[in-house]
């Protein structure tokens, strides 16, 4: 596996980032309350780590993220495999999917809060919607792109429904599906924060709102950085899993 992020690149990249931040801080005249220095943000982070506040919120957010993202991906892939296979049915579903797809998940927020109240559910539903359409559509198209020779071979050797789905269709479509699952991870993470900012009283998104309400710009920046870091870690984890499955299935060495 090629390491996209080598340690040296990471350190240099972050050092430059913090340096620019520090220079901007020193040259701007916003003041600490509006634009905290890297040190202030670091201290705010240390404070949240020490009182454990950050971990509680990370835990809450991760639970919501896992519930929303995993259920969404599983539903979208299963549905996508079936709809990709039965193209006749998909023709009647596709127009509505195309209508729903460009709607930002956040647009549903008022309904979601009215129906489910404030708490875990709004964030989970938002994440579900955010990941669902890209994975569904990409799975449908992946099934359509399967090399017909695999299906011929399956037919010849008497592999019937439903076995053909997990013996042939899913593994053959897997590389393209994995790609969309990966992209959807980033999208879902973005919407987790948005969902929590509006629909909850806890989690990383709420941390932002809370910091704003308390006029704690340093906490706010610390929270933002944590959100970015976790997004990065999730992405790397998924890359590892993807690479493992690909190697297990004799695909390209990534």
């Amino acid at each position: 596996m090629k390491k996209l992020l080598s340690l040296k690149n990471i350190i240099v990249s972050f050092a430059i980032f913090i340096l620019i931040w520090q220079v901007l801080y020193m040259t701007s005249d916003f003041g600490d309350a509006l634009f905290p220095s890297p040190l202030k943000a670091w201290q705010a982070l240390v404070e949240m780590v020490e009182n454990g506040y950050i971990f509680i919120n990370i835990g809450t957010s991760m639970y919501r993220f896992a519930a929303g993202y995993i259920s969404s991906v599983i539903t979208a892939v299963l549905l996508g495999l079936v709809l990709g296979w039965f193209k006749g049915i998909f023709k009647y579903i596709n127009p509505v999917v195309q209508l729903l797809r460009p709607i930002s998940p956040m647009a549903w927020m008022p309904f979601i809060v009215l129906w489910f109240g404030i708490g875990d559910v709004p964030a989970i539903v938002i994440i579900f919607i955010a990941a669902f359409f890209p994975v569904l559509l990409s799975t449908v198209s992946a099934v359509g792109n399967i090399d017909p020779i695999y299906l011929k071979v399956a037919k010849n050797f008497g592999i019937k429904k439903p076995e053909i789905f997990w013996k042939i269709v899913f593994p053959a479509a897997f590389p393209q599906i994995a790609n969309s699952i990966h992209l959807a991870l980033g999208t879902a993470w973005v919407f987790l924060v948005a969902g929590e900012m509006v629909g909850s009283q806890s989690g990383l998104g709420y941390l932002i709102i809370d910091a704003r309400n308390n006029l704690r710009a340093d906490t706010l920046l610390a929270a933002i950085i944590v959100i970015g870091l976790i997004g990065l870690i999730l992405d790397s984890l998924l890359k590892l899993i993807e690479g493992y499955v690909m190697r297990l299935w004799g695909g390209a060495d990534k």
Binding site: I149, K152, N156, F157, K160, E163, A172, W249
Partner: protein, 257 residues
């Protein structure tokens, strides 16, 4: 007769245009025969093979195998493709087991049967490798093992060695000939390589294009084994086949040499 093709024809309809690809094909094949379909590109060899294998039906006439009209693919007639058709996400072993999975076999029996055929094609050392790690010739051996594992009556092959280099190709020709006789299989083998056809076939079905039709059928009266690619008899038949391709407006006759 084991395979009986009577007045078979096929017309593709592409929008408003009709393309006549097979015309009035008549052919009878005995059990255990090795038949080569030989002809230039576009003469309908693959179309005829696909129709016999049940993938894509003819539009006129009939194709019967063992007295039954061919309507769909069957495990009793396995097709081997030019690009092997191996499942890249399965190991060699699991690829060969594919056709055994729908059968009522225990896991151990399945593994043992697969191993036996992997050994037959000389790939025992690679049973846990994925296809992409193997050369083209080795991949085609896997496909052959996978086909043999389900113990089919007929093996259809569509230019199976077309993508291989000359030496690998000759080695595989030797092997497929030996295996088909040992396992007593009927083989229908598509090729556009004249020497390959003469080396392998009991009978060569020579086809012509526009529309695809049988031009002539050549009986290859050479010893079953140890056919010498440079022997006089071999060259004599080769000349005969060249002649068939060069001559215009020849009547449909059955050459016996």
């Amino acid at each position: 007769m084991y395979i009986e093709i009577t007045n078979a024809g096929k017309t593709f309809k592409d929008g408003g245009e009709e393309l006549r690809v097979l015309d009035n094909i008549n052919l009878s094949i005995d059990k255990g025969e090795f038949i080569c379909l030989l002809g230039p590109s576009g003469c309908g060899k693959s179309t005829l093979l696909n129709a016999m294998a049940g993938f894509d039906m003819i539009t006129e006439g009939s194709i019967k195998i063992d007295g039954k009209e061919v309507k769909e693919p069957s495990v009793k007639n396995v097709t081997i493709f030019q690009n092997y058709g191996l499942l890249p996400w399965r190991t060699v072993q699991k690829n060969v087991e594919l056709g055994l999975e729908p059968k009522k076999l225990s896991k151990e029996e399945r593994a043992k049967t697969a191993e036996k055929y992997i050994e037959l094609v000389g790939l025992s050392g690679f049973k846990n490798a994925h296809p992409r790690r193997l050369s083209g010739g080795m991949q085609q051996r896997v496909a052959i093992a996978r086909a043999l594992a389900v113990d089919p009556d007929i093996i259809f092959m569509d230019e199976p060695f077309g993508a291989l280099d000359a030496i690998t190709r000759m080695k595989l020709q030797d092997d497929i000939l030996a295996i088909s006789k040992k396992e007593n299989k009927t083989v229908i083998f598509v090729t556009h390589d004249i020497e390959e056809a003469i080396f392998l076939a009991d009978r060569i079905v020579v086809m012509a294009a526009h529309p695809g039709r049988i031009k002539s059928i050549v009986d290859v009266h050479l010893p079953r084994y140890q056919r010498e690619r440079t022997s006089d008899d071999f060259l004599l038949i080769r000349d005969k086949v060249f002649e068939i391709f060069n001559m215009k407006h020849i009547p449909d006759i059955e050459f016996v040499i």
